[in-house]
Symmetry: none
Subunit: 203 residues, 4 copies
DNA sequence: GGCTAAGCGAGACGGTACGTCCTGTCTTCCT
DNA sequence: AGGAAGACAGGACGTACCGTCTCGCTTAGCC
């Protein structure tokens, strides 16, 4: 993944030997995500199953990723679809759109993947660090811009603690996903959270 | 653990044979927590390591817990110290005390344990469900009571969405712990979040 | 193998834990020999195939033998049936009996095993050394005794070079086995070699 | 090798494209022999190691030889120096010269190669057959001629069993090489064997 | 005080997955 | 077209745990 990116950035140093198969890359990532969704967690899937489902030899997997964890983090990165950059209506509309996107994601297949993976993360600090850098931060940045713009337009209070607000919004929307599967979040959770955030709870 | 509780509830049905060693129970749970902190995640520790560190045979572990996950959830339950029931000052003071307690917990050893475990949780829904029922919900209930009292005393707005507020507070305080270890949360995060929650962000 | 022998020599120090299964020992050695005969050479068989055919887990094999080579040498040792101690008739009769036994062995299943294995032996000098010590030398000793007795009884010349004679007899009977499978040795090879050895070739 | 021979026999059919590099041929065979001596047995060396040591791509090896075994047999053929055709003195002198040559060969580097290879031979019958035809038989033929001449000159007995005598001589001289490396054969083994063969062991 | 039943440390059992290495084939660019 | 490089599918290697089982030995309560 990262190598592919790196290589494609510069105009191909023309390495000798047979080039790596792009189909294999895709098949492996695809198989990984499927298994990650079906089974569960880093522990729940096996490299051998990944290779088998991808129709690929084990060595083809290990040539690209040094171990299971690194494969999984790259597979997850493949779904890091950025949050929809909000149209730019009222701050409330923008925040609501973002909150609902996060809420939807929670139940989506990849949502589960992320959580399954992040659990065992203390063991792999770089895994977590990279995930933060490449996935989490860009998303917060979008919210941060919406909030800043709100301050400028006067929609939000001038002394707003932007980071605390981000933390609350993101926290509320993602924490819920840890509830038992049965406990579906209420449909209107996004709206209720955004409104509570806007108005505050003080009388 | 659960069996121990069950047994200690009724006055000993007086089973025949040698009774189970209480020292073994403790040693196993202790070893589990130590390994959970040192290593990481459900996947990171092995039953053999637990037994070895506890100075106990593997069968002594398996006699008490049917598998790794059940052992771990019981070990975690051993640290479910309840949040300090707030003294009952102003709502702000109470919320702040709770928030700071959660914040402190995040960096504590058991804090890490919880997160390490919750990751691979999709595979073990009952683990997660039980954890929610026995650990998470009681804690939310404490916050819930503080908020309800605030509404009654008029400190908080009458149309407050209690659940949304809980979600935001808990989410903000716990999500942070997933940042890379280096990224220590700001000292005053609790205060900033509580104030932002109280006042709202709208102008 | 060696461990079993060692243990059974002394009256069991009563080691803790579940004792090793004698059935597994047998099944593994049996499977090894079968595969050694069917397939060929150290390289031709796999530990996984051995375990599978023996109906045993791989770890059960590796608990007893540290690697493929050590397993194979022990399997071969299991067939080191000693040469029939000759009845003690005339020297010619005794030598003929021994030569014919060696000749028969050549075509037998285990004969092939030995050769298949001895090939890659430079890599495992201890394998070869042990095989010599435990299998080859005892056999030569039998021939040596027959020749010495012949000298004493006056059947053989007094100035006989015993070791050279052994080398010639054993060499002639075993070298042949390296001929292509098609080239069956003549029925009467043993007799012809013994007589040539007795009479010499000089006029 | 075989292809090279075939091509060099006829005056080059003038194939299109770049001709094969003679340097590559040599480098590959050289590398094979070196590894065969250092490591051990057909199983002990890898095509990748051969190609790497020869400074050659794997495909360059596989273009010339279809698999490991064929490469090895050709590499060995490169050392099949014929036995010195004996000067034609007394039969004893001739046999002694041949025996000593065989004895010397045993300790030489290629000696080891041959044995290393012959071990795993059941799996590759054609390898063995070819080796017999091209290396072993020519050598026996030399001994055979010496013995026949001895019969004609009256030095050897008229009713000599030529094949049995060959078997004993060759067997005695080559079998020894299977002893552990430490056990060097006695200096005078050749002489003792030849004399024992000549005089017989009977009183 | 002996009997009975369960607990105990130890470790073997059949399995599964790991990550490494090598085989023999293929695909690319360079000469 | 040959050559060097190296990717490809496949499969065995030897290791580490899983959760179960079998040993011989305590350690209790009940007779």
């Amino acid at each position: 993944m990262s190598q592919t990116e790196t290589r494609s950035r510069r105009p191909e140093p023309a390495r000798p030997g047979r080039p790596r198969s792009a189909r294999a890359d895709e098949a492996i990532l695809q198989a990984t995500l499927e298994l990650l969704a079906e089974e569960a967690g880093v522990a729940g899937i096996s490299m051998e199953a990944v290779a088998a489902r991808a129709g690929v030899g084990k060595s083809t997997v290990y040539r690209r990723w040094p171990n299971k964890e690194r494969l999984i983090v790259d597979a997850l990165a493949a779904l890091k679809r950025p949050l929809p950059d909000p149209a730019g209506g009222s701050v409330r509309d923008d925040l609501l759109a973002l909150a609902e996107a996060m809420c939807r994601e929670r139940s989506a297949k990849h949502g589960r993947c992320l959580w399954n993976v992040l659990g065992g993360a203390d063991k792999y600090p770089e895994l977590l660090a990279r995930y933060h850098r490449e996935v989490i931060e860009p998303r917060r940045e979008i919210i941060r811009r919406v909030l800043r713009r709100g301050v400028e337009t006067g929609e939000l209070r001038a002394d707003l603690d932007v980071e605390a607000a981000i933390e609350m919004l993101v926290g509320a929307m993602t924490l819920q996903s840890r509830a038992p599967a049965a406990t579906a979040p209420p449909e209107d959770l996004a709206e209720r959270v955004v409104d509570t955030l806007l108005r505050g709870i003080a009388a």
